[in-house]
């Protein structure tokens, strides 16, 4: 019944190709330590990109996620530092910090979504605004410098990023679980079907008694929650946040979604494609760093070419139909 779609497999083929290329160029590429590092660093963008897949599929966009992550990291660190004298440097404090990150993410996503669906302002405009607001707030909270987690807490929190099951660290595990749940939600639940229907034609969805506004709002809340989750995994890595945390994450996340075959105009979402897209972007970065062929400074240029190429392939698919 289903034809094999080369355009659909394109990103996967590219990923395998990059993997082989990496292994050929430098044996160190295949070392567990390197792969672990690549995957763990992909996890931040990856978690956000899974949420972004839902937002883009319903026909929306969120430019604020990078700034939001920086802001959430900032208030998480401040909350933990402020609480530590009372609650002690223990896991309880860290769990409260995690709660702040999650609650903050959900709230920020809700604000974005409510402005877009209730006040009916363009998603691009709303999130361009909140992008500036979050970025400015974290810079202000850090007074232009860096917010650092107190050293006792930092030591305690560090393993959340750096340890796990063997070389498969916690960020990789969390990313994998979220990706699987995300794919399942998009494919097999009413919510996922409604998200695709709204992106395909919101008028048809409305006439089919789908609560279009609520579904749209929920995608922004889901994305906010995933930004919160990414923040929880990011804070133990450096133990700090500043005005330059998470810069351009929003564009990397959007790029990963597009490379993965989700249509930018909405209507067709592929969470697994997004995961492939994230891995492609990280592998390019890693390979350029390991091999001497091309300067790592050209990373952005190569990623740019890949994004444009992915969209060209998407368009050829449409015109072929």
């Amino acid at each position: 019944m289903k034809r094999i779609d080369l355009h659909l497999l394109g990103p996967l083929v590219a990923l395998v190709g990059l993997f082989i290329l990496g292994a050929l160029l430098n044996p160190a590429f295949l070392a567990p330590a390197n792969l672990s590092n690549v995957l763990a660093r992909s996890a931040f963008i990856g978690l956000i990109a899974v949420g972004m897949t839902f937002v883009i599929t319903q026909g929306g966009l969120d430019l604020s996620v990078g700034s939001m992550a920086a802001f959430l990291a900032g208030i998480t660190i401040m909350a933990m530092n402020a609480l530590a004298p009372f609650t002690g440097e223990n896991w309880g404090t860290i769990l409260i910090g995690m709660g702040v990150a999650m609650a903050g993410g959900v709230l920020a996503g809700f604000v974005n979504g409510a402005l877009i669906t209730r006040a009916r302002i363009e998603a691009f405009i709303v999130t361009l605004g909140t992008m500036g607001i979050f970025r400015s707030l974290v810079t202000w909270l850090a007074d232009g410098g860096t917010l650092s987690l107190d050293s006792g807490l930092r030591t305690l929190y560090r393993p959340v990023y750096f340890s796990g099951i063997g070389w498969i660290t916690w960020p990789i595990i969390v990313f994998a679980i979220v990706a699987i749940l995300g794919e399942w939600t998009m494919r097999h639940t009413r919510f996922g079907r409604h998200v695709e229907a709204i992106g395909s034609n919101d008028r048809v969805a409305r006439y089919s008694a789908v609560d279009v506004e609520r579904v749209r709002l929920m995608t922004y809340v889901l994305l906010g929650a995933l930004v919160g989750l990414a923040t929880i995994l990011y804070v133990p890595r450096l133990g700090s946040a500043s005005g330059s945390t998470g810069v351009l994450w929003e564009l990397e996340a959007i790029a990963a979604v597009i490379i993965g075959g989700t249509a930018l105009k909405g209507g067709r979402g592929r969470v697994w494609g997004t995961v492939v897209g994230v891995l492609i972007l990280s592998l390019i970065d890693n390979i350029l760093n390991l091999a001497d062929l091309v300067s790592p400074y050209l990373n952005g240029a190569i990623q740019g070419v890949i994004i444009v190429l992915a969209v060209v392939l998407q368009r050829e698919k449409r015109s072929a139909e």
Partner: protein
């Protein structure tokens, strides 16, 4: 005399389906030619071929007796053939003058000559007897005004051949008079005119020559005065007119729906409409385009804000969203199946279950979805190569059947169907008529809105006629006649006395 523009044994196929069968047609200078036929008879296809938007599959287009294989609309327009489409072709954010001269701007050097264009536009609009200002933005104009701008734009093209698709459908009486005056003037100037219309009185008033189409073939040619309105209708519909409707054999049962004092704000307002619908009943709503029929139905279905009370099975029910209506067992089949009814890029199955997904579990049960699709394919006779194909690849008739199946999957008791057979061939129409009566037979209540009078008359136990946003009257039983409905729709007071 050689006709200006003619079709010579033209056929047209879309895929394997031939929709036009050997059409001969001639438009002569200084003559008004009316092309009439039911929806789906092939009028639009002929107009598109004449206007260069479609190429014939076989046969040819002749301009002044010579083959003229136009490859595009602009190419035909350069030859003096101007088409006014039913859907407007205006840039909403530009001014009236800018639209009239779009692509042929008057300029002095590189600078646009706004003064000259405004003056020329004002003169054209003045000739049409409208008060539209050339500086006004299209977005701010009413639909009839936009229609007048389209006509002004065509006039400015100095057309040799002017083709109009339902030119008066969106116009008020006064504007229609101005339009007729222009048609007379253009005829006197030697322009060859052709138009499609559903208004038979208009055809009788304007046309020097009438061509009647049915199912893609010419079934009758006549000169002015040779055909009465009845004669035209009979020729259009053919002898099977009385046979295609199922018998009205279901008695009305208990009251299902009661609407009292419903008003809908908006561009087309509906004011203070009350109606009732019973089990086993098919209630028709007739009226001209723009009389508020769709707005009324969408308000009942929770798709438009409204005031007034709606009672379902005797219970006052607040309907503010489509899901409130769905919960009350009310379903609405939109007239706009391509933009509001179906996800054209999605597979049939996803379209079928979209409105009723909550019946398929939290984790959507694919096996049950496939079963529902198989049932729908059988029950509604949906003809598709594969259920994985996108809904947009289905023919209009099968799309309509899929939309019907999708709506019925929510198991509604009150079904509002807006234009049930727009753009559908006669065989499928009959199937849909049978579905409608079968719903009534199953004890449901059905409201049918249609611009096609034979359809409203043939299907309905009772017909409400709307005019300018209000109910103009009701006819039932033997009093459901074209004359009675038209009189009410046109505001000619009470229905005629029975002869």
């Amino acid at each position: 005399m050689t006709p200006v523009l003619a079709l010579d044994k033209v056929t047209k196929s879309f895929g394997p389906v031939e929709v036009l069968h050997g059409i001969d047609l001639a438009l002569s200078a200084g003559e008004v030619h009316a092309l009439i036929g039911e929806n789906g008879a092939g009028k639009s296809t002929i107009m598109k071929i004449l206007g260069g938007f479609l190429t014939p599959t076989s046969g040819q287009v002749l301009l002044d007796g010579h083959p003229a294989p136009f490859r595009s609309g602009p190419e035909a327009e350069a030859a003096g053939i101007v088409v006014i489409h039913q859907e407007f072709n205006l840039a909403p954010d530009l001014s009236v003058a800018a639209n009239i001269f779009l692509g042929r701007e008057i300029s002095r050097g590189v600078r646009l000559d706004h003064t000259a264009m405004r003056a020329a536009a004002a003169e054209l609009l003045d000739r049409l007897g409208t008060a539209i200002r050339p500086e006004a933005r299209i977005r701010d104009l009413s639909v009839p005004d936009r229609q007048m701008v389209e006509i002004a734009k065509a006039l400015s093209r100095k057309a040799r051949v002017l083709i109009m698709d339902e030119p008066s459908a969106a116009l008020t009486h006064r504007e229609v008079d101005a339009l007729y005056a222009q048609v007379d003037r253009l005829r006197a100037e030697g322009v060859a005119l052709m138009f499609c219309s559903h208004r038979l009185d208009e055809v009788a008033r304007l046309a020097d020559r009438i061509t009647v189409l049915r199912d893609g073939a010419v079934v009758r040619r006549a000169l002015r005065g040779e055909l009465t309105d009845d004669g035209m209708a009979t020729a259009m519909v053919g002898r099977e007119l009385r046979d295609i409707f199922p018998p009205k054999d279901t008695p009305a049962g208990e009251e299902l729906l009661r609407v009292e004092g419903l008003s809908v704000p908006g561009a087309v307002q509906v004011g203070n409409v009350s109606l009732t619908l019973h089990r086993g009943e098919v209630l028709g709503i007739a009226g001209l385009v723009g009389s508020g029929r769709t707005e009324l139905a969408e308000a009942i279905a929770g798709l438009r804000p409204s005031s007034g009370t709606i009672s379902v099975r005797g219970q006052p029910t607040a309907i503010r969203h489509a899901r409130d209506a769905a919960a009350a067992g009310i379903a609405y089949l939109t007239e706009d199946r391509k933009e509001a009814g179906l996800l054209l890029d999605k597979p049939l199955t996803e379209n079928l279950t979209l409105a009723a997904l909550d019946r398929f579990g939290f984790r959507i049960d694919r096996a049950r979805e496939r079963q529902a699709m198989a049932d729908a394919t059988r029950d509604f006779d949906i003809r598709a190569a594969s259920t994985a194909m996108p809904a947009g690849a289905l023919s209009g008739g099968n799309q309509q059947k899929l939309l019907l199946a999708k709506t019925m999957l929510t198991e509604p008791e009150i079904i509002l169907i807006d234009e049930p057979t727009r753009g559908i061939d006669i065989g499928t129409k009959q199937q849909i008529y049978n579905f409608v009566r079968a719903l009534a037979r199953a004890g449901k209540g059905v409201i049918v809105i249609s611009s096609e009078l034979p359809e409203v008359m043939g299907l309905s136990d009772r017909v409400l006629v709307m005019r300018q946003g209000s109910l103009a009257g009701e006819v039932k039983g033997a009093r459901i006649t074209e004359e009675n409905i038209v009189r009410l729709a046109m505001g000619l007071g009470r229905e005629a006395e029975p002869a």
